[in-house]
Structures are given as structure tokens and as C-alpha cells.
């Protein structure tokens, strides 16, 4: 099994979820994170005190998928999250050794 971690622009989240649903991924876990990268942050001004905010709000999506599904899932994310502008984010793929569904104790692919 693979763990796909995608950092995306928050307003693309619904599209990504739908795209993943279409390729058969029906579970995911989302975290609100702050990202730092090439995309320029913004400047905030409070009574003349200037703060450069480099960290931008991003959504991190984590999905565990079977090995077969991994590639299609990545493609779905890329196409749904892409705006073409800097800051669209990254996808990291790593492997998971075991998965357990807490409710049933199911293990492996059937736990997904």
C-alpha cells in the first residue's frame, strides 16, 4: 500500500476530493497546514509595523491506497489541483507496511 500526501491550495480541495472519488478513492484525511516555498507570501501592515508573511495556508491531503490505485490517484490529484500558478503544491508518495481498520480490525487493502 502507498501513502499519498498532497499539499494543495485550499480552494481546490473539493475538486480534488471529487476527482479522487471518480478513480475510486473514498477515504482521505485532510489537515490545514502552512506552506513555505517559491510562492510569494504577502505583507500585512498594522499601524505602520510591516510583517512579511511567508507561510501560506495550504491543505494537506493524506490517502492510503492500494499499490494499483496509486498512480491513478496521483494523476487525479494533479489534474484537479493544478491552476498553473506557482504554489500549486507537491505530492509525496511513500509506502505503508500495514493498515488496520479500527472498527473491524480488518488489515491490508481491505481496511481501506
Amino acid at each position: 500500500m502507498k501513502l499519498i500526501t498532497a499539499i494543495i491550495k485550499p480552494f481546490r480541495l473539493d475538486d480534488v476530493r471529487n476527482a479522487l472519488g471518480e478513480v475510486g478513492v473514498n477515504g482521505m484525511t485532510v489537515t490545514e497546514v502552512k506552506g513555505f516555498g517559491r510562492q510569494r507570501g504577502h505583507t500585512e501592515l498594522y499601524r505602520g509595523a510591516e510583517y512579511v508573511v511567508d507561510f501560506l495556508p495550504k491543505s494537506k491531503i493524506e490517502i492510503a491506497v492500494s499499490d494499483e490505485l496509486a498512480e491513478r490517484a496521483v494523476e487525479a490529484i494533479v489534474s484537479a489541483a493544478r491552476t498553473g500558478k506557482v504554489g500549486d503544491g507537491k505530492i509525496f508518495v511513500s509506502s505503508i507496511e500495514q493498515t488496520i481498520r479500527i472498527r473491524t480490525g480488518d488489515m491490508g487493502d481491505s481496511a481501506l
Partner: protein, 430 residues
């Protein structure tokens, strides 16, 4: 009774401006209703107005400490006022510099005691609300780094040694009042006083850890705007209430106060728009406070166009002063108390002299002063005297407290935040 004698002087000179309103020794229910209401409004300015205004500006980890400071000062100043503050400020048989002790513990203030046309109890309360907000204003300058117990000590001593005597000088029959110094609702007593103490505090305490490199943005501007709005509405109690009656004087004070606030807001907004490219909500509300602080001493003397000029001047000057204190002088007056209240209050005192008898203004308080120039000099003398006394005594108080118990929290406590380290609680729990 000396105090009433002196108050009567004011009343007479005001009465000249208000033909048709007879001076009465009996209770007037309308005046009483308005003074009850005004008192409530000024308390509302501190609780929750100022508390929210300031609370929103600090970081999450210190928000409760700010609310706590405003709240506990309100309680403590109220009791001190009853015990001895009122008699220092307005007690009978005083000297030129402080009132007598005849009204300690409010001796003789009964249900039937009148202050002009309304109960003296209400006068005690109305003035108490001023004694509450002034030390509360100061805490903005040393926010996020002072020990709670030291803050309480400072506020108590400052109230008795600075606030109460200065009130006597200006309103209680003291030497500035005798000279013809004009301060309708507290430009010197409240704003210069708080602003100067704030400056001394900021310099004495030193900067917050990380200032000015680490961003310390306001943690909740909606809270700050809410507080600012409450300050605005409450300020009508402050200024129009200072007419001490529900009459034409109160009406005009309300009108010019409002114009001053609106003009100060728009002036600050304009400066930001020009200088930084965008107007901000923190900017506009700061301009409002500047406008209100500046119109305060003038609010019973100038006309609508005077209010407009004062408001605009406040917005421009205090905007510039805020930049200067922070950037040029590098002083960490955390919530900008000095540039807004100190500078604004002083500016208002001076403009009072210039605008009181022009553009629909109501003329001079004191009959012995007949030119704007002479009044200007009086205003300078008054403003500087208050500033000087306040600066010296505040410094001494800080010095003493620092030596005896220490002023500042440890670096670790500052990092963790005052809410947890001073009060064992947190503002928000998920």
C-alpha cells in the same frame, strides 16, 4: 464648602453660555437621568470597550492578561476612589494642589446630597469612571511583559499620586482651574496623563522580546474593532456627560465629539491610503481614538467646524507620531498609547485655545483671559505641568516597584505568555 464654591464658578461661567437654563439647587430628573446614563457609558468604555480594543491587539497567549488588567484596575480604582481618591480630587477645603480629606470614605455623601442639579452619588460615580479608564489606558504600553502584581501596585499608586491630584488641579478647584486652564472632559487629566505615563513605562520596561523583528500582529482584529466601536459610543458619556446636564451644552459636545471621531478616522485612513497604498481597519479605528482623544478637552468649547478641524488634525498628527515612536525612536509602546493619547490630548489642549472662540465656538471659560494667544499659553502651561508631574512621579513609582518586587516577568514566562504564567488559564480552548 470650598468645592461647591468653585464648582459654582464654573457653573456661572457656563451659565453665561446657556441662557434660558436656570441654575437650580434642586434635583432635576432629566439631568439626573442623563448623568446616570453618562456614567454607565463611561464605565462601558473600559468594560468591555477598552479591554476588547486592547485585548484584540495582543497575541493569543496574552489576551486574558489584558482583560484581567483592565478588569482588576476597574475594581481597585473604584474602591480607592471611594476610600480616598474622590476626596483628594474633589474634597472640600483643599490647597492649590490637592483636595481636603473631608470626604474620605465618602463621608457625608448621602442620598440627598446634590451636586448641582443631580445627586452627588452620581457625581462620585461619574468621576470614578474617569479614574477607572485612565490607568487602564496606560497598560497598553507595557502589555505582554509586566507582572500582574506589579501592575496592580503601579496602578494603585499612580491613581493616588498622579491621577487624583491632577484631577484636583484641573477640575477640583486647584491651581490650573484658577488660572483659567481649559480642559472640558479630560485632554490633560485623562489623555496626556495616560499617554505620558505610558511613554515612561515603555522606556523603563524596555522592549518585548523579539521587538521589532518578530511579527506580533493583533490576534483578533474583530475584537479590536468591537472595542473601538464601544469606545466611540461610550465617549458621548465622557464628553457630553461632562456638561453635567442634559442641555444645549451636552448636545453640542455630542455633535463635535462625533465629528471629531469621524474626521480623525477618515484622516488616518487617508494617510494610510496615500502612504501604504491601502486603508486598514486597524488604521481607521486608531484614527477614531485619536480624533476622540483630541476633541475631548475642546468638546465643550468649540463648534462643529472646530470639531472638524480638530478631528482632521488628530488623524494626521497622531498617524505621524505613531510612525515616529515606533520607527524613529524604536520605543516599544506596545499598543501605541503615547502617540495616540498623549500626543492627541496635548494637541487638543492647544487647539482648544485656537478654536474656542472662532467658527461657532463657545468662547472662553475664564473671563480673565480674553485672547486666543493668552489662552494658548495657559494651555501650554497646563499641559506641560501635567506631563511633567506625571512623568516624574510615574518614573519614581516604577523605580520603587522594580527595586522592591520587580516589574517584568521572566523571559520564559514572556515566551509562554502571561495568560498561563500569571493566571493559569487560556483565552481559547479549541
Amino acid at each position: 464648602m470650598n468645592y461647591f464654591h468653585r464648582l459654582a464658578c464654573v457653573c456661572v461661567s457656563l451659565a453665561v453660555l446657556l441662557p434660558g437654563i436656570a441654575l437650580a439647587d434642586t434635583l432635576d430628573t432629566g439631568d439626573t437621568a442623563w448623568m446616570l446614563t453618562s456614567t454607565i457609558l463611561v464605565l462601558f468604555m473600559t468594560l468591555p470597550g477598552l479591554a476588547l480594543f486592547y485585548g484584540g491587539l495582543v497575541r493569543t497567549k496574552n489576551v486574558l492578561s489584558v482583560l484581567m488588567q483592565c478588569f482588576s484596575i476597574a475594581c481597585m480604582a473604584s474602591l480607592l476612589w471611594v476610600i480616598v481618591g474622590y476626596t483628594i480630587a474633589f474634597g472640600p477645603d483643599g490647597t492649590a494642589y490637592m483636595g481636603g480629606f473631608g470626604k474620605a470614605f465618602l463621608a457625608g455623601v448621602g442620598e440627598d446630597s446634590l451636586s448641582g442639579t443631580y445627586p452627588e452619588t452620581v457625581f462620585v460615580m461619574f468621576q470614578m469612571t474617569f479614574a477607572v479608564i485612565t490607568p487602564a489606558l496606560i497598560i497598553g504600553s507595557f502589555a505582554e511583559r509586566m507582572r500582574f502584581s506589579s501592575m496592580m501596585l503601579f496602578s494603585a499608586l499612580w491613581l493616588l499620586l498622579v491621577y487624583a491630584p491632577v484631577t484636583y488641579w484641573v477640575w477640583g478647584g486647584g491651581w490650573l482651574m484658577e488660572r483659567g486652564f481649559m480642559d472640558f472632559a479630560g485632554g490633560s487629566v485623562v489623555h496626556v496623563n495616560a499617554g505620558v505615563a505610558a511613554l515612561v513605562a515603555a522606556i523603563y520596561m524596555g522592549k518585548r522580546k523579539g521587538f521589532p523583528d518578530t511579527p506580533m500582529p493583533p490576534h483578533n482584529l474583530t475584537m479590536t474593532v468591537t472595542g473601538a466601536c464601544m469606545l466611540w459610543v461610550g465617549w458621548f458619556g465622557f464628553n457630553a456627560g461632562s456638561a453635567l446636564a442634559a442641555n444645549g451644552d451636552a448636545g453640542m459636545a455630542m455633535l463635535v465629539t462625533h465629528i471629531g471621531a469621524a474626521a480623525g478616522s477618515l484622516a488616518w485612513m487617508t494617510m494610510e491610503w496615500i502612504r501604504f497604498g491601502k486603508p486598514s481597519v486597524l488604521g481607521i479605528v486608531t484614527g477614531m481614538v485619536a480624533g476622540l482623544g483630541t476633541i475631548t478637552p475642546a468638546s465643550g468649547f468649540v463648534g462643529p467646524m472646530g470639531g472638524l478641524i480638530i478631528g482632521l488634525a488628530a488623524g494626521f498628527v497622531c498617524f505621524w507620531a505613531t510612525q515616529a515612536v515606533k520607527r524613529k525612536f524604536g520605543i516599544d509602546d506596545s499598543l501605541d498609547v503615547f502617540p495616540v493619547h498623549g500626543v492627541g490630548g496635548f494637541l487638543g489642549l492647544l487647539l482648544t485655545a485656537l478654536l474656542a472662540n472662532s467658527l461657532g465656538g463657545q468662547g472662553f471659560l475664564s473671563e480673565s483671559i480674553t485672547s486666543a494667544g493668552a489662552q494658548f499659553v495657559e494651555q501650554l502651561i497646563g499641559g506641560l505641568s501635567v506631563a511633567l508631574w506625571c512623568a516624574i512621579v510615574s518614573f519614581i513609582i516604577f523605580k520603587v516597584i522594580d527595586a522592591v518586587v520587580g516589574l517584568r516577568v521572566t523571559e520564559e514566562e514572556e515566551t509562554e505568555g502571561l495568560d498561563l504564567t500569571q493566571h493559569d488559564e487560556r483565552g481559547y480552548n479549541n
